[in-house]
Symmetry: C2
Subunit: 446 residues, 2 copies
């Protein structure tokens, strides 16, 4: 990719650009770069950017414009090169769900297979959790490495997992903050540019996207999920990257845990050759795509074999332990996940009737998680790593009336009381056993 940031910013007239977008005309790449550069330097005011965002949301953007927007946002800050990292560099991005701890087991697994995974993640907001919050359940784990240390850990361990810095894609951070308060979040081109500008700033060669669909996801139905996935793939390719997207089911929570330490524990179980089937399956499917993009496997079959081997022989767990150590964390929890924090009290949510677990409302459980303190409703809130929800069984399991559907982990039992009925109502029980379904709905490469 050309280092656009080295070029002089194109001079633009913000009002003319606003009128053009308002009238449904397309911008040139230079105009978009001028707009974003102007916004970062203060020549384009907040109120102009927000009006432009609304016009862009309502009148749309072409893929070419979205590529230009992605690159302008990408080059608004540092772009990592990771020159010292020799393997191909591939990352995964999930559009966010409930119980989504996949990154934590996926990154070391893929790294153990010889693909570098320089992963910059986010925090939870609303009903969706964030990888950083989950990693911080590991005592001492530092998610805020500087760029040099990040590169060194990726080079020596094969993966590092950190948080967004203010130096990477700062335009995205400011634009997202504006979108959040101006009703301009729900725009596919703006979502695509936001996701890709941050991910491309990692200096990756390719990206696997996990586009979640269903009630616990941002995209509620397959059609809108597919639109987003396709746009991500097209724009990612337009920006010169190898990109694959999986559309995956986000109706019920992933795996059996919700909450930060709970989810990290489940991810570690996967590396310990255990863990719930759907968590393992999703990890392997996404990992296979990363290995193919990383050119260490030619076919999915080869890729899955490598991943299974790295999981079975403990090398993925070893990689994770090295990363935790390099990032200041307590490696004892890696080898004994039961050392992770867990709130002292466990309150069972009983089944009101007997039957098969047919569906579990992930949005509801996500929101209960937030209410327990595992998540946040405002970006400046702290989270409690020790609280959460654990499910004794998954979709398809048979339960008798009174059996536990879920356990709520809290510091004091009274904290669980207001949520018992809500968690109970999130489970739908049926008389006949539902068919088991894969979480993978579609695979898109163009």
């Amino acid at each position: 990719m050309p280092k656009a940031s080295a070029k002089k910013s194109p001079q633009i007239n913000p009002v003319r650009l606003l009128v053009a977008k308002r009238e449904g005309r397309t911008h040139t790449a230079d105009e978009i770069r001028g707009l974003i550069d102007g916004f970062v330097t203060g020549q384009v005011a907040d109120y102009q950017m927000s009006a432009w965002l609304m016009a862009a949301l309502l009148n749309g953007m072409t893929d070419k414009e979205t590529v230009a927007l992605t690159e302008a946002m990408l080059h608004s800050g540092d772009v990592l090169r990771l020159k010292s990292v020799k393997p191909r560099k591939v990352d995964k991005h999930s559009t966010g769900g409930v119980g989504d701890k996949i990154s934590i087991c996926l990154a070391p697994l893929v790294a153990a297979c010889g693909v570098a995974v320089p992963m910059i993640s986010g925090r939870g907001l609303g009903h969706t959790g964030g990888t950083l919050d989950k990693l911080e359940a590991i005592p001492g784990y530092d998610v805020s490495l500087d760029e040099k240390t990040f590169e060194r850990v990726v080079r020596t361990v094969g993966t590092a997992m950190i948080g967004q810095t203010s130096r990477l894609a700062p335009a995205d951070k400011r634009i997202y903050a504006l979108r959040d308060v101006t009703g301009t979040v729900e725009s596919i081109p703006l979502i695509v540019a936001s996701i890709l500008s941050k991910k491309l700033a990692e200096g990756i060669d390719g990206l696997v996207l996990d586009v979640k669909v269903g009630r616990g996801a941002f995209m509620k139905d397959l059609k809108s999920g597919r639109n987003l996935a396709r746009a991500l793939v097209r724009v990612g390719k337009g920006a010169g990257k190898q990109v694959t997207a999986l559309l995956t089911d986000m109706e019920s929570p992933i795996g059996l845990t919700i909450g930060n330490a709970n989810e990290t524990r489940e991810a570690l179980e996967v590396l310990h050759n255990a863990g719930p089937d759907d968590t393992v399956d999703l990890t392997l499917e996404l990992g296979a795509e990363m290995l193919m993009i990383g050119r260490v496997a030619k076919t999915k079959k080869q890729a899955l074999a490598k991943l299974q081997a790295a999981r079975a022989d403990g090398s993925a767990l070893e990689t994770f332990a090295k990363m935790v150590k390099a990032q200041g964390g307590d490696t004892r929890v890696v080898f004994d996940p039961s050392l992770l924090p867990r709130a002292k009290q466990r309150v069972a949510v009983p089944a009101a009737t007997s039957g098969y677990v047919a569906s579990i409302d992930s949005m509801e459980l996500g929101l209960v998680g937030v209410a327990l303190g595992a998540g946040r409703t405002r970006a400046d809130q702290a989270v409690d790593h020790a609280v959460g929800i654990e499910l004794p069984q998954s979709i398809g399991a048979k339960v008798s009336k009174g059996d536990p559907l879920a356990f709520i982990d809290v510091h004091k039992k009274a904290a669980a009381t207001p949520h018992v009925k809500r968690v109970q109502a999130a489970f739908k029980l049926t008389r006949t056993q539902p068919k088991s379904k894969s979480r993978i709905l579609e695979r898109l490469t163009k």
Copy 2:
């Protein structure tokens, strides 16, 4: 109209309103009032208002919403009552043109016929002139009376002509400033609410709108002018006022003068029973509508007779003189308009060929006026009252090659030189005499 400002402001969630307007849903009157009140008090940020303006421009607003917006903006500040003024109070608003000095002769003429005219006007910007700048060509004339003095002058003289104060419709002032820099000027509902909120703050019973159409106007064609005029009439009525709109031709400049003192002189000539036919005609047509709304005439014929009488017997001139005196101006210029300032040098623009004057590009002459210093391109610029353009003849006149098409009034001849060719090119001459046309294109009462 209910005094909405006395009510408690409805609490609104700005992001929800933004999403609703983005999705094309309509707001309730309370929601709109909450939005405007929130903007004035700072609870709704500039960047939220500008995104809302863009959404409103693109997705439109119903008449009911536009009435609510008008009333919310109106009640964002003082609303004059003018209780001590007994006659019905009627004003005229023009959407802006070139050579539009009509207000200056119209207000005293209508007032002399027994209708009160509490007129709050604006300044020139871009190619269009402003009544305040023209009035200030009269030495000493004060356009910034306080509300009490304004009411007293309207009561005792029948009319007063002042500028917008910061206490009247302050929301409009702030919203217009935002629209100007966010590409959201060209929205009929927003234009309507802006015009009507300011005019209704005058405490009037009715309003006559002069919606200009043509190259010297904001609305370039009849269709868009008609859309604006209809919306103004509908929303004005929705806000409880009697409203009539005339669509008038703004292809060529009005009358024979452009520039501040030049135009005031021409308006005074009308009151002295002279003046160009089109200026006189436009004044009488608009005046007749005001007299009918003011209920001092039942028919247009009656109204025209009254206006002609007030012009012929000098009572309109006398009214103007009283107003000038009450507002601190030098009344000598009223009785001897040649005392108004005029730049010393007069540069003739010769006809390049012989023929009949078929059209005069009002936009071009308006822009030359600005370039000479008679107008401004930024709101904070001062204007020169003494410079301008005067035409020796109007559309339809026969000229021979070398005859003057126009005179440019400047302090030094060199200042006119760069504009001679441009003014010459603004005149289209034809071999056959064009038919004379009225400036009145349509009359709308609903």
